[in-house]
Symmetry: C2
Subunit: 317 residues, 2 copies
């Protein structure tokens, strides 16, 4: 048995998650720590290298050693220059993460966007197992996306491919955080669902959501499942527009699998039934027949699993 061990880190706005895996996907160690981005990039990188030490120690205990480290970045990394070009949730711009990491760490380090590594993780060990052409759509504060094309991660000329949330589905639609109008995420993100709930409450509609101090997207899904009509309307609307955006991707790329991730992806039929209807309505037949739409399976470990996978793909092709 000649198993390669790899380390995957998922640098998030709230937590840094780490994992030690072998090339068959067996987990040897898992760890996480608060990011505390307010302390600045050097402090965050120190936490990451501390995590790497722990995982290398775990590898040693398993009688082996890791061959490389993959890192998922919540923004746009540039492997060539070793920079995190930007990462809004961390407040980072042009942070030389590779230089900071390799001051301590001797293993090769591979950087990739967090939504992309999550897609890679789901394709390796999750809902997209065995898929050659998989698109992952993650419903969160925004809408994240990752593309696996011909079996490997596709990130395009700028490294930023997969920005599904900012494909426009109505140029006269609501204003988006990116400054444009009618981006898919203005209709279907957790933020959009919460905004719709708040508007409905302000307009005096009767809904159980009105009793909450702070509404989460998951609350809306749960209320919809419990028969709350306002909540059901919001979930239906989000699912419908998610379907329009997903169908655009289906018509353009004809993937075999679309994986829906994020907190609300476990909602079941209440989300997936109207989503399926909308996708059917907006997709071309041949591409529709070839695709299945499934919820993600790895939850918030998809990112570090995929970051580890990245090491294997970059090292062995």
């Amino acid at each position: 048995m000649n198993r390669e061990l790899v380390i995957g880190l998922d640098l998030g706005g709230t937590n840094i998650k780490g994992i030690l895996l072998d090339n068959c996907g067996n987990i040897y160690a898992k760890t996480d720590v608060a990011t505390q981005a307010k302390d600045g990039p050097e402090a965050v990188v120190r936490r990451m290298t501390g995590m790497v030490s722990d995982l290398e120690e775990a590898a040693k205990k398993a009688g082996s050693k890791a061959i490389g480290i993959g890192v998922g970045i919540p923004g746009l990394p540039d492997q060539q220059s070793g920079l995190v070009v930007f990462a809004p949730n961390l407040g980072w711009k042009n942070v030389p993460i590779l230089k900071l990491l390799t001051a301590t760490v001797t293993l090769p380090v591979f950087l990739e966007n967090d939504a992309n590594v999550a897609a890679l993780g789901e394709q390796w060990l999750g809902a997209g197992r065995g898929s050659a052409n998989m698109v992952m759509i993650t419903i969160g504060t925004g809408i994240g996306g990752g593309l696996i094309l011909n079996g490997t991660l596709f990130n395009g000329a700028s490294g930023s491919a997969g920005e599904i949330g900012h494909t426009v589905i109505n140029p006269e639609g609501p204003l988006c955080s990116c400054g444009r109008r009618g981006c898919m995420e203005t209709y279907t993100s957790a933020t959009a669902m919460i905004r719709m709930a708040q508007e409905a409450i302000k307009q005096g509609n009767k809904t159980c959501l009105a009793s909450k101090d702070k509404i989460e997207a998951l609350d809306i899904v749960v209320a919809a499942r419990d028969g709350d009509k306002i909540a059901a309307g919001i979930v239906n609307s989000a699912a419908y527009y998610l379907g329009v955006g997903a169908a655009n991707i289906i018509n353009l790329l004809s993937p075999d699998t679309i994986v829906i991730g994020g907190g609300v992806s476990g909602a079941g039929d209440i989300l997936f039934k109207p989503l399926e209807r909308s996708i059917r309505q907006w997709s071309l037949e041949a591409a529709y027949e070839a695709v299945k739409v499934v919820p993600a399976q790895l939850g918030n470990t998809a990112g570090c699993v995929g970051a580890a996978r990245l090491v294997l793909q970059q090292t062995f092709g």
Copy 2:
């Protein structure tokens, strides 16, 4: 000099075009013939095999022989079953083209959608030369699309990837020929431009287009260039929505090159200036910085050139 010769055929609704090329892109022979699809598939295939004989003869004269035939199909071919699943312009459904062709032809035959081979042609010898990630958008009766990703043609799980014209840019938009609403081609195809001109004339607007018996998209572009305000408005609107659709592709795939093809792609600044503005408005910065938008260079030979290229890619990888 060990040059491989390949045959490319482009089966169109009006003409069948053929070309004999070597692996360096040197042209040895070109030919075309009327399709006359009304005579039925067998007659059309006879015209194709006649063309192949002529091109094989030309290869012999050059002291060599062709190694394979690529065929661009105006619809959805399926290489595995050897069928043209559908080709609306020919009135074909499930036509066993591979069986019909190989009754006469002994060379290996490779089938591909016509927009896809046109993209491959432009990437090999045209406006996308040297591009690794190129998207071709062809403005015609509809909007055709072809994707070159990581240097090779991408056609997805169903073989139908690249249906850019049927990505939706407004789910409440005009009715499309596909039965859906607000597809990109309802705003930006030649058909859409002609429809807008006819509506403007019907509403009594003053335009030089009113004097024409039959308006072509190229007439509208020429009139716009000559200062006709109605025509200029139509070209601006088509360019704007073409930009919205192109930006969606830029945000999703981050290509290095977008090639605009079709009859009006030679229009120059009158089309490309507003298109460029719209793309800038609707694209994410990183992806926008990495892409150039250029007119096609091969005109209506792109298809047979790309069909020939397909043989080389399928044979030698």
